[in-house]
Structure formats: structure tokens, C-alpha cells
């Protein structure tokens, strides 16, 4: 039988099942995030060779680029779960979309800060109105708009649906961020790491980058699961399964 996957997914969308599932996976995701993060930092800061042009200053790439990828990835996750939340009205999709927003905003903020720290020695300026930089800043504002709209409603589910709609409108910005370096030839360099075709980066620099990418992905999973669990408890406050958990906690 091959229909256990849709069945299992269907079951997973119920809050108590997801609560237990996320609770089991979260420590593992966090452990993997720390493991890959340490490996990537060691590889990037100690093992990787210095750049022939930028010297050691390029090493901020191991934070900057994975966070930039995550800023778009999290928005995409938020957009997809927003669509699911609006079309099928699945409560879990609302929770995932709304709890992704602060994490994505944090990744975007880190991207902007590390980028400007990197830009000062290399370009000679903290900030320039380049297409990539501007669209990334717009991405941050979109995240903040979604968070702001979510919290301005008294009814949380209604707020989640309204903010999900805003997230869907804003998803148009994600391809703009991604392709901005190809469409406008300004200060920010083009992409060197490519999914399709050969990357223009030495292997010694590439593997710590990929390890850090894995670390940020696992951190996102761990953080999202934690936030979603808390949110589910708050949303489902009066339900039996939450009371059961509260009683079990009290008995300990």
C-alpha cells in the first residue's frame, strides 16, 4: 500500500499529533544544527584557505550567504503554508506560516548586518542602493508587515489568515531578490554557488558553506517546531489534549 504517506501527512496536521511529533524531532534537529554549525565554523574559519584578493575578510561569507539563502527559503515556506492555510483552512499551516515570520525576519536582519560589515572593507561603504541590497531590505519590511498585521487582530486565527494573505502578495519579491544580481549589474556580485552547473568556488571554501547551510536549515526546523508547539498550546488552550499535558506536567 502506498497511501500511507498522504494518510500520515493528514494525521500530522492535527495539533496533538504534530505537538508530539515536533517534540520528538526538535532535540535532534537542534543537535544536528549545533554539530553542523561547529563543523562549518571550524572548516570556514580555520581549514579554508584565505582568499587571494580579500584575504581573511571573506570568511564572513560562511554566515552571510547561508542566512541570505534562509531569508528567501523561510519566506517561500511561509508563502506555501499561507496558501495552504487560506485554501484548506488548516490550523497547523497558519501556525507554521506565522511562526516562520519572526525566524525569517531574524535571518534577513543577520544577512543585512553581515553584508554591511563585509561591504565596509571591500566596497568602502556600509550601504549602497544596489538592487540586491534594496530588495533584501524590502524583504525585511515584508516580514515585519506580516508580523505587525498578525498581531493587530484580536482574534489570532483571523489575524493569521489576514497576514497569510499579505505574505502571499509579498512572495513576488522573492524571485526579485534571487535574480536581482542577474537583472541589474550593480555592486553586489553575481552568484558563485550554483545548483545547476559548475560552481565558481574552491571545494575547500564550498564545503563549510554547505555545512553551514545545513546548520541553518536544522536550526530553522528546531526553532519553528519549538515556536509552533508553544503556539499550538496557546491556541488549543481549552482542549482535552492540552489539559492532559498540563495534568501530566503538574503530576511530575
Amino acid at each position: 500500500m502506498s497511501n500511507w504517506i498522504p494518510l500520515w501527512l493528514h494525521k500530522l496536521s492535527s495539533p496533538p499529533t504534530f505537538y508530539r511529533f515536533a517534540g520528538t524531532l526538535r532535540p535532534w534537529a537542534m543537535a544536528l544544527a549545533v554539530l553542523f554549525g561547529v563543523i562549518a565554523l571550524y572548516g570556514g574559519l580555520v581549514l579554508a584557505p584565505a582568499d587571494y584578493q580579500q584575504g581573511d575578510a571573506y570568511r564572513i561569507i560562511f554566515i552571510h550567504v547561508p542566512c541570505a539563502w534562509m531569508s528567501m527559503f523561510v519566506y517561500a515556506v511561509m508563502g506555501v503554508s499561507s496558501l495552504i492555510a487560506l485554501v484548506w483552512r488548516i490550523k497547523l499551516a497558519e501556525v507554521v506560516a506565522m511562526e516562520s515570520a519572526p525566524i525569517g525576519a531574524a535571518f534577513t536582519f543577520i544577512t543585512l548586518v553581515t553584508g554591511s560589515l563585509w561591504g565596509k572593507p571591500m566596497w568602502g561603504t556600509w550601504w549602497t542602493w544596489d538592487a540586491r541590497l534594496t530588495s533584501e531590505l524590502v524583504l525585511l519590511f515584508l516580514y515585519l508587515g506580516v508580523i505587525g498585521l498578525y498581531h493587530s487582530f484580536e482574534d489570532r486565527r483571523q489575524g493569521a489568515r489576514a497576514a497569510a494573505f499579505l505574505a502571499l502578495i509579498g512572495i513576488i519579491n522573492v524571485p526579485i531578490v534571487h535574480f536581482s544580481v542577474n537583472w541589474w549589474n550593480t555592486l553586489h556580485q553575481g552568484s558563485t554557488v550554483k545548483l545547476f552547473g559548475p560552481s565558481k568556488i574552491a571545494w575547500g571554501m564550498l564545503w563549510p558553506l554547505l555545512a553551514m547551510t545545513l546548520a541553518t536549515k536544522f536550526y530553522y526546523i528546531a526553532s519553528l517546531f519549538h515556536r509552533a508547539r508553544v503556539d499550538l498550546l496557546a491556541l488549543e488552550g481549552g482542549k482535552d489534549w492540552v489539559r492532559q499535558i498540563a495534568e501530566d506536567e503538574a503530576r511530575k
Binding site: L86, L142, G145, L149, S152, D155, Q158, R161, F165
Partner: protein
């Protein structure tokens, strides 16, 4: 009971909103006064030097008009939410998207048109060359409906909330970056004697897209916001 036709319903909607706006003529004057005063502040802040004012004139006028529209946007649905006529509109047999389109048109006519009418005056205050003014007006004619349509979707989303002024700015301003870039680009190109048709064509394309999609999105957003 016979149902009024679509055209009659649209005309009634438009007439109602224009009448309501006309009964409160003072509100129509507010964005215009705001734009005049903001534009007046620039020569004071930057010094009355002709060349500097000429260089920034296009951008200043566009941003001022955008902010003035943002100020007025908040009130697009507020009176309808208060007296419950918005719920009636949602329940009406006519397509909500079309009715929203009419509301947006009425709002654009009462807030953006007066701003476009005084735009030559604003341009003259900042010494924009007279030859550039037609391009500025064309850019405004295409950019302001775009902002009204985009803004209406976001106003509809916040229709169910109480504090929405600053939130609206936070949501709308990132989304109108492209409109500002293209409109200001057209004015700047015309000022330097370069061909300015490309950015205007982009604005037109965006406007066509928005005219089709924004009323539908606005109706969907309104249903979400009022669904409590």
C-alpha cells in the same frame, strides 16, 4: 423583485461614494494641503538653490504624493465599516470585486485627482523645467491608480482592526517601491533629455495587471478581514 443590472449597481456605487465625499469637501482638501506644505518645507530644509531643487523635484513630488495618498487611504473603508454598509456590500448579489473596483475608482477620483491637478504647482515651486511637467503628469496618472489599487488591498486586510495607520504604511511602502522607481525614473530621464517611454511602459503594464487583479484580491482580503 427585479435585481438592478451590473452597470446600474456600479453607477449607484460610484455615485454614492462621490456624494459622500462631496458632503465632506474638507476631507478632499486635506491631502492637497498636506502635499503643498511638505513641498514647501524642502526649500527651507535644503536651501533655495535652483539647481539642487531642480534635481530633486521629481522624486520629492512623487514621494509627497505617495505620502498624501497614504494619509487618505486609511479612510477608504472606515465609515463603511462603522455603519455596517460594508457587510451589506459583501452580502449583495453583485460581485464584490466589481463593487470594490468602483470604490477604489471613487477614492482615486477624490484623493489622487486633486493631487495630480496641483502637481504642476508643486513642480513650479521646485523649479522643475516646464518641458518635464507633461512627463511628470503622465507618470502620476499611471502611478497613482496603481497605489490606490495596491493600497485598497491592504486597507481591506486591516478593515477588521482598530489601529491601522502606521501598520498600513509599514505594509504599503515596501510594495510601492517599484512604482516609485519607475515613475521617478521616467521624470529623471525626461529631465536629462533621455528617452522616458520605457519606465512609463513598465508603469502602464503594472497598472493593467493591478486593474485586473487588485479588485479580486481586495474582495478576498475583505472577506478574510470581516470573517469573524
Amino acid at each position: 423583485m427585479t435585481r438592478p443590472g451590473l452597470a446600474a449597481a456600479c453607477a449607484a456605487m460610484l455615485r454614492r461614494d462621490l456624494t459622500l465625499a462631496w458632503r465632506r469637501r474638507g476631507d478632499i482638501a486635506m491631502p492637497v494641503l498636506y502635499a503643498l506644505i511638505v513641498t514647501m518645507l524642502f526649500p527651507f530644509a535644503l536651501g533655495p538653490e535652483d539647481t539642487l531643487l531642480q534635481r530633486i523635484a521629481g522624486g520629492v513630488i512623487l514621494v509627497t504624493v505617495l505620502l498624501a495618498m497614504l494619509l487618505a487611504l486609511d479612510g477608504m473603508f472606515s465609515s463603511d465599516v462603522e455603519d455596517g454598509s460594508l457587510e451589506q456590500l459583501v452580502l449583495a448579489p453583485q460581485p464584490l470585486a466589481l463593487m470594490m473596483g468602483m470604490k477604489i475608482l471613487a477614492h482615486w477620483m477624490t484623493t489622487a485627482l486633486p493631487l495630480i491637478v496641483i502637481a504642476p504647482l508643486l513642480a513650479a515651486m521646485l523649479h522643475l523645467p516646464a518641458a518635464v511637467i507633461p512627463v511628470l503628469l503622465l507618470a502620476l496618472l499611471l502611478a497613482t491608480p496603481l497605489l490606490s489599487l495596491l493600497g485598497a488591498v491592504l486597507v481591506a486586510l486591516t478593515a477588521g482592526t482598530r489601529r491601522s495607520g502606521m501598520l498600513l504604511a509599514l505594509m504599503l511602502l515596501p510594495l510601492c517601491v517599484p512604482a516609485v522607481i519607475f515613475a521617478a525614473g521616467a521624470v529623471a530621464a525626461a529631465q536629462q533629455g533621455l528617452p522616458w517611454i520605457a519606465p512609463v511602459a513598465w508603469l502602464g503594464a503594472a497598472l493593467v495587471l493591478a486593474v485586473v487583479l487588485a479588485p479580486l484580491a481586495c474582495a478576498a482580503a475583505l472577506r478574510i478581514a470581516l470573517d469573524a
